[in-house]
C-alpha cells in the first residue's frame, strides 16, 4: 500500500505532459504563466516527496527494527528541546524557499494591464456567453449537439464514440495567438467558474461582480475546459472551448461572424 503510493508519486514526476487516458500530471499549457504555474506545482510536489522520503523512511526503518518481537527493550527518552527546535526551524526555512517563487508568479498573474483585446464572459445556467468588446460580436456557447444527445440518462449512445464527449461546444471562443486577451467575467444567475487548464485560468463568475483574468496564448490549437463551480443540475454540461488561431485567421473569423450574425449592440 505504502510502496504503491510511493511509486505512483515518483512516476508522477516522470510523466509530465502525457495526454493519454492514464495521464498523471497537470498540463504545462500554452502560456508563459501556465508553465510557471506548472513549475510551482512541481516545486512544491518535489519538496513533499523529499520530506516524505525522510519521514516515511525513518518510520519504515523503525517499524522493522524496533519491534517487541525482535526482542528490543524500549528506550525511555520522552523529549528533546533541541530536536523540537530543529524540526520547527527547518520546515519554516523550506516554506520560505517555496514562498518566494510562488509570490513572484502571483504578482504576474494579477497584471492585466495593456491588453490587446477584451472579452466579456457571462455565465448562465447552463451555457456561456462571449462578447468581444472591440470587435463587436457576441454569441452563446453551449454543449455541442452530439454530446447533448449522448448525455441523457440511458441514452443508448456510447460516450466513447462521441468526439470530445462533454467537452465540445457549438461555438468556441476564438482568439489570436500571441495577443494579450483580457477576460471580464460575470454571471447572470448563480456562481459559475470559467476554467481552462491549458491556459491556467480558473475564475469564478459571480452575479453582481465583474472579475478579471488574462492570458497570452503562445501556441495555435484547441483547448478545452469546464465550468468549475457547482451551478445546478447541468453543471457538468457547460464546457468551454478556446480556439487559438493565427492573427489573420482570427480577423477572417471576426469578419465572417459580423456578416453572418444579426446586428449586435456595439461595445460600450
Amino acid at each position: 500500500m505504502i510502496r504503491r503510493s510511493f511509486l505512483s508519486l515518483l512516476a508522477l514526476g516522470f510523466a509530465s505532459t502525457v495526454k493519454a487516458d492514464w495521464a498523471l500530471n497537470m498540463p504545462t499549457g500554452i502560456t508563459d504563466l501556465s508553465v510557471e504555474t506548472y513549475n510551482i506545482h512541481m516545486l512544491v510536489f518535489w519538496w513533499c516527496v523529499a520530506i516524505g522520503i525522510v519521514v516515511f523512511g525513518v518510520m519504515i526503518v523503525s517499524l522493522f527494527r524496533h519491534r517487541k518481537s525482535q526482542g528490543v527493550k524500549p528506550a525511555t527518552f520522552s523529549h528533546s528541546t533541541t530536536a523540537e527546535v530543529i524540526w520547527t526551524i527547518i520546515p519554516v526555512v523550506i516554506l520560505m524557499l517555496i514562498a518566494i517563487p510562488v509570490a513572484e508568479t502571483m504578482i504576474k498573474l494579477e497584471d492585466s494591464r495593456d491588453p490587446d483585446m477584451s472579452i466579456v464572459v457571462t455565465a448562465y445556467q447552463w451555457k456561456w456567453h462571449y462578447k468581444y468588446q472591440d470587435e463587436g460580436i457576441a454569441f452563446y456557447s453551449s454543449l455541442a449537439p452530439s454530446s447533448r444527445d449522448a448525455r441523457r440518462k440511458q441514452s443508448g449512445v456510447d460516450p466513447n464514440g462521441v468526439d470530445n464527449y462533454l467537452r465540445e461546444v457549438d461555438r468556441p471562443l476564438v482568439v489570436p495567438r500571441d495577443a494579450k486577451v483580457r477576460l471580464l467575467l460575470t454571471s447572470n444567475d448563480v456562481v459559475h467558474s470559467w476554467y481552462v487548464p491549458e491556459l491556467a485560468i480558473k475564475k469564478d463568475t459571480i452575479p453582481g461582480i465583474v472579475n478579471e483574468a488574462w492570458f497570452k496564448a503562445k501556441e495555435v490549437g484547441t483547448y478545452r475546459g469546464q465550468c468549475a463551480e457547482l451551478c445546478g443540475k447541468d453543471h457538468g454540461y457547460m464546457p468551454i472551448v478556446v480556439e487559438v488561431v493565427e492573427p489573420d485567421a482570427f480577423q477572417a473569423w471576426v469578419d465572417a461572424r459580423k456578416e453572418g450574425a444579426p446586428k449586435v449592440a456595439s461595445s460600450q
Binding site: 519521514v55 462533454l166 459571480i206 457547482l230 445546478g232
Partner: protein, 533 residues
C-alpha cells in the same frame, strides 16, 4: 444539606442502570450517552456511505446510467452533510463522553442532563434532513457548502435544511460547553493541566473551536433563510448584497470545522502509539503547544478556499502564507509520533495498525494540502478532484481511521471482552487497501482537469474513475467486517483492567467493563503511578 447528600449517596451505592427504554431516553450517564453517540455515528456512516456508493456507481463509467443530474447533486450534498455532521463529529463526541471523565478521574460530565439533550437533538435533526429526500424539489443539491445564489434555488427542502443545521449546531455547542466545564473543573486534584492525556487536551482545544465557530455557521444559514423568505439581500447582488460574503462567513466556520474534525484524531493517535511502542509520547508539552498553534492558525486561513473568487493580491498572499504556516505545527506532531515509535518495542494490534496508517496517510493528505496552499497552483487544483483527494485523505484514513483505532483500543474497556483480533486485522488491511484504491487516483483526475460535483465526464477520465469506484465498493464492504467485530464484541475472552500491556492513564485503573459509575471518589495515588515520568 449534608444529610441529603449522604442519603443520596447511600441510595446510589448499588444503583445500576434503569430498565427499559427509559435508560436510554433519559440517560444522564456519560458511558450510555457515549455509546448512543457512537451507535448513531456508525449508522450515519453507513447512510452517508450508501450515498457515496450511489455517486461512485454513477461515476464508474462515462455516460449517465443510474440517476438524474439533480439527484446526483443531492447525493454529493447529503453525503457530505451526513458524514461531517452525522458521522465524524458525533463519533468524536461519543469518544469524548466515554473517555474524558475516565481519563481525568471524574464521575461524569459536568452537565449530565444537557449531555442527554446534546445527543437526542441529533436523531431529530437528521430525520429532518433525510426527510428532504422525499420532498418536492428533492433534497438540497447545492453542495454542503450551500453557496448562494444557487442554494436559494432549493425547493421545499430549504427551510428544513436550515433548521436541521441549526439543531446540529446547538447540539455541538452544548456538547462543547460540557467538555470545557468538565475538563476545567472536574479533574482529579493532582491532575494539573499539563499532566492531562493528549486526548483530553485535544478535546479541550476542539471544544473552544466549536464554541467559536458553530454560531458563525448559524448566522450564515440564518442570513440565507432571511434572504429567501424575509426580503433581505445579504447575498443577493440585485439588492446590494454580495454572494462572496457568504463564502467568507461560511469558510470562517468551515476551516476551523475541519480542524475540529482532526484534532481529536491527533489526540487518539497520541494515546495509542505510546501504548503499543511501550514508550512515552515524545514531546508531550510540545504536542500540546502544536495543537494549540494549529487551532489558533485555523482561524486566519479561511480564504484559501476562495482563491478563485477574485481576491486582491494582498489577500491571496496573506492567506497563502498563513496556510503554509499550519504545516509547521502539524509537521512537529508527525515528527513527535515517529520519535515516539523510534527505539520503542512495538507490537501491531489493530489499534496500532490504524494509528500507523493514520500517520502515513494523513501525512499524504497533508502534502496535497501544502500543494493546495500555493495559490497559483491552486488555480489549477481548485474545484477539481485534486481537492476531493486531499480532503478524503485527511478525513477517511485521517479522522475515520483514528475513530476506528479508538474504538478498537477502548472497546475491551467498554465491553469487558477482547474483540476478535484476526477480524480486526482483516478489517484494517481491507480498509487500507481499498481506501487508497479509491482516493489516490483522484489526485491524477484533478491534475488532468476533471472538475468536482459532476455526474458524468469526458472519456479521457474513465480509467481512474473506474478504479476509484471499485475501491469505493471494496471499502464499503470492508466496513461490514467492522460491524461483525462489534456484534461479536462480547464473545471474546475476558479483558484485563489494563487491557494493553504498555498503556498508561486513569482509564486503565478501573475494571473492564467499566462499572456504570466510576470515580465516585477522586483517584489520588493512581495519578502519579499512571504518569510516565
Amino acid at each position: 444539606m449534608s444529610t441529603t447528600v449522604a442519603d443520596l449517596h447511600d441510595h446510589h451505592e448499588d444503583h445500576g442502570p434503569a430498565k427499559g427504554i427509559g435508560r436510554w431516553l433519559f440517560s444522564t450517564n456519560h458511558k450510555d450517552i457515549g455509546t448512543m453517540y457512537l451507535v448513531f455515528s456508525l449508522t450515519m456512516l453507513f447512510v452517508g456511505g450508501a450515498m457515496a456508493l450511489v455517486i461512485r456507481s454513477e461515476l464508474a463509467i462515462p455516460g449517465l446510467q443510474f440517476v438524474h443530474p439533480e439527484f446526483f447533486n443531492s447525493m454529493t450534498t447529503m453525503h457530505a452533510l451526513i458524514m461531517v455532521f452525522g458521522a465524524v463529529m458525533p463519533a468524536f463526541v461519543g469518544l469524548a463522553n466515554w473517555m474524558i471523565p475516565l481519563m481525568i478521574g471524574a464521575p461524569d460530565m459536568a452537565l449530565p442532563r444537557m449531555n442527554n439533550w446534546s445527543f437526542w437533538i441529533l436523531p431529530v435533526a437528521f430525520s429532518i434532513l433525510l426527510s428532504t429526500l422525499f420532498m418536492p424539489g428533492g433534497a438540497p443539491a447545492s453542495g454542503w457548502t450551500m453557496y448562494p445564489p444557487l442554494v436559494l434555488q432549493t425547493g421545499n427542502a430549504f427551510p428544513f435544511l436550515i433548521f436541521s443545521i441549526h439543531l446540529m449546531g446547538i447540539s455541538s455547542i452544548m456538547g462543547a460547553i460540557n467538555v470545557i466545564v468538565t475538563i476545567i473543573n472536574m479533574r482529579a486534584p493532582e491532575m494539573t493541566l499539563l499532566k492531562m492525556p493528549m486526548f483530553v487536551w485535544t478535546w479541550l482545544i476542539t471544544a473552544y473551536l466549536l464554541l467559536a465557530v458553530m454560531p458563525v455557521l448559524a448566522g450564515a444559514v440564518t442570513m440565507l433563510l432571511t434572504d429567501q423568505f424575509f426580503g433581505t439581500s445579504f447575498f443577493l447582488a440585485a439588492g446590494g448584497g454580495d454572494p462572496v460574503m457568504f463564502q467568507h462567513i461560511f469558510w470562517f466556520f468551515g476551516h476551523p470545522e475541519v480542524y475540529i474534525m482532526i484534532l481529536p484524531a491527533f489526540g487518539v493517535v497520541s494515546e495509542i502509539i505510546p501504548t503499543f511502542s511501550r514508550k512515552p509520547l515524545f514531546g508531550h508539552d510540545s504536542m500540546v503547544y502544536a495543537a494549540a498553534s494549529i487551532a489558533f492558525l485555523s482561524f486566519i486561513v479561511w480564504a484559501h478556499h476562495m482563491f478563485t473568487v477574485g481576491m486582491p493580491l494582498t489577500g491571496q498572499m496573506f492567506f497563502m502564507f498563513a496556510t503554509m504556516l499550519i504545516a509547521v505545527p502539524t509537521g512537529v506532531k508527525v515528527f513527535n509520533w515517529v520519535a515516539t515509535m523510534w527505539r520503542g518495542a512495538m507490537t501491531f494490534e489493530t489499534p496500532m495498525l490504524f494509528s500507523l496508517a493514520f500517520v502515513f496517510l494523513f501525512t499524504i493528505g497533508g502534502f496535497s494540502g501544502l500543494m493546495l496552499a500555493a495559490a497559483p497552483a491552486d488555480i489549477q487544483y481548485h474545484d477539481t478532484y485534486f481537492v476531493v483527494a486531499h480532503f478524503h485523505y485527511v478525513l477517511v484514513p485521517g479522522s475515520i481511521f483514528a475513530i476506528m483505532a479508538a474504538v478498537y483500543y477502548w472497546l475491551p474497556k467498554w465491553t469487558g471482552h477482547m474483540y476478535n483480533e484476526t477480524l480486526g486485522k482483516a478489517h484494517f488491511w481491507a480498509s487500507t487497501i481499498f481506501v487508497n484504491l479509491t482516493f489516490f487516483p483522484m489526485h491524477f483526475l484533478g491534475l488532468a482537469g476533471m472538475p468536482r460535483r459532476i455526474p458524468d465526464y469526458s472519456t479521457q477520465f474513465t480509467d481512474f474513475n473506474t478504479v476509484a469506484s471499485i475501491g469505493a465498493i471494496g471499502f464499503g464492504l470492508s466496513q461490514l467486517i467492522f460491524v461483525w467485530v462489534l456484534v461479536t464484541a462480547y464473545r471474546g475472552e475476558k479483558a484485563l483492567d489494563r487491557v494493553w500491556e504498555g498503556s498508561h492513564g486513569l482509564e486503565w485503573t478501573v475494571p473492564s467493563p467499566a462499572p456504570y459509575h466510576t470515580f465516585d471518589t477522586p483517584p489520588k495515588a493512581r495519578i502519579a503511578n499512571e504518569a510516565f515520568e
